[in-house]
């Protein structure tokens, strides 16, 4: 058995959760080849470390719904309502702006229109947010 064969076999043995004894040929190779012995020790440490990886603390919002109460599903036909909300976010301020500015002196028209346009943009951005499943 050469070094490449040993390493391949040793890794497969680790992946089989060491459920069977290592082949005698492989064990003999590790005894005779110090590099492979070191390699085997290092891989065994990594394997054992990976089997005992510390658990990840779940974020609060993930914990909140693990009991089931916080799971929200997006409404059916969400795409249509999304388009309608977006359209409304633009159209309503635009309409209001047009009506109001008709009654304003010319110097005020630009300022008020800018304000209303900013509002429309903020509304548009708010409705563009991706839906979240976790309450």
């Amino acid at each position: 058995m050469n070094c490449t064969e040993f390493r391949s076999l040793y890794n497969l043995w680790l992946d089989g959760r060491k459920s069977t004894p290592l082949l005698p040929e492989a064990a003999l190779h590790a005894q005779e080849c110090s590099e492979c012995e070191t390699y085997a020790g290092a891989m065994l440490e990594i394997d054992e470390g990976l089997q005992n990886i510390p658990d990840v603390p779940l974020p609060e919002d993930l914990l909140a719904y693990s009991g089931g109460s916080g799971v929200r599903t997006p409404a059916r036909g969400r795409d249509l309502s999304f388009l309608l909300r977006r359209g409304a976010a633009f159209a309503l301020p635009a309409l209001a702006s047009w009506i109001i500015t008709l009654y304003l002196p010319p110097g005020w028209q630009f300022a008020v229109q800018s304000l209303l346009l900013s509002g429309a943009l903020v509304l548009c951005a708010a409705t563009s947010l991706r839906p979240r499943f976790i309450a």
Binding site: S8, D15, A42, M43, E45, I53, P54, L62, Y65, G68
Partner: protein
């Protein structure tokens, strides 16, 4: 540890989706966190996975286990996030801190060091290549076998073995900075 490999039932889709979220979201988050190494990134990625699952749930025909199908979607999403992260390298692991993994003297601090080192090891998973980190995480953290991983990753059993073996070697190099010990 192993996620439910639930079969498809006739329950209404929304109810099924809720049960998917309950059964899979924590495990998907753990997987995402280990692959991406960042809480916010992992949370965002899991949200995207759940959104994709919700959109395609009606099309799921049960050709494979539900867990396999969900993890395929998840890996595609996590790979996309990894690509985005490429220009934001994760902090380097100090090899001296990690040396405890190979130096195991009996010591009162051994348990603490061991915990620390395992956390370092876990953080190194996010520094592997995306496919190596996916294979390592699916094998060790999600408890999948070679066959399931091959199905999820769309590759052969031998490739899964290689990814896991190389992943372990690369983790050792990342932790200790000792390339020769991994025999490469």
């Amino acid at each position: 540890m192993t996620p439910a490999s639930g079969n498809r039932s006739d329950r209404p889709l929304d109810a099924e989706f809720r049960s998917i979220v309950r059964d899979f979201a924590p495990q998907l988050y753990r997987h995402a966190y280990r692959m991406l190494g960042d809480t916010e990134e992992a949370t965002e990625a899991v949200q995207e996975v759940l959104l994709s699952v919700h959109r395609s749930l009606a099309d799921f025909r049960g050709d494979c286990a539900l867990a396999t199908w969900i993890y395929r979607i998840a890996l595609n999403t996590f790979f996309t996030h990894r690509r985005r992260q490429r220009n934001q390298p994760l902090p380097l692991i100090d090899p001296e801190d990690a040396q405890a993994l190979v130096d195991e003297d009996g010591d009162v601090e051994e348990e603490y060091n061991r915990k620390e080192t395992r956390e370092q090891l876990a953080r190194c998973i996010a520094k592997l290549s995306p496919r190596e980190s996916a294979a390592i995480t699916l094998f060790y953290m999600d408890g999948f076998g070679y066959k399931e991983i091959a199905s999820i990753m769309g590759t052969s059993l031998s490739s899964v073995g290689l990814l896991i073996h190389r992943g372990r070697e690369h983790l050792h190099i990342l932790l200790t900075g000792k390339k020769e010990r991994a025999g490469k």
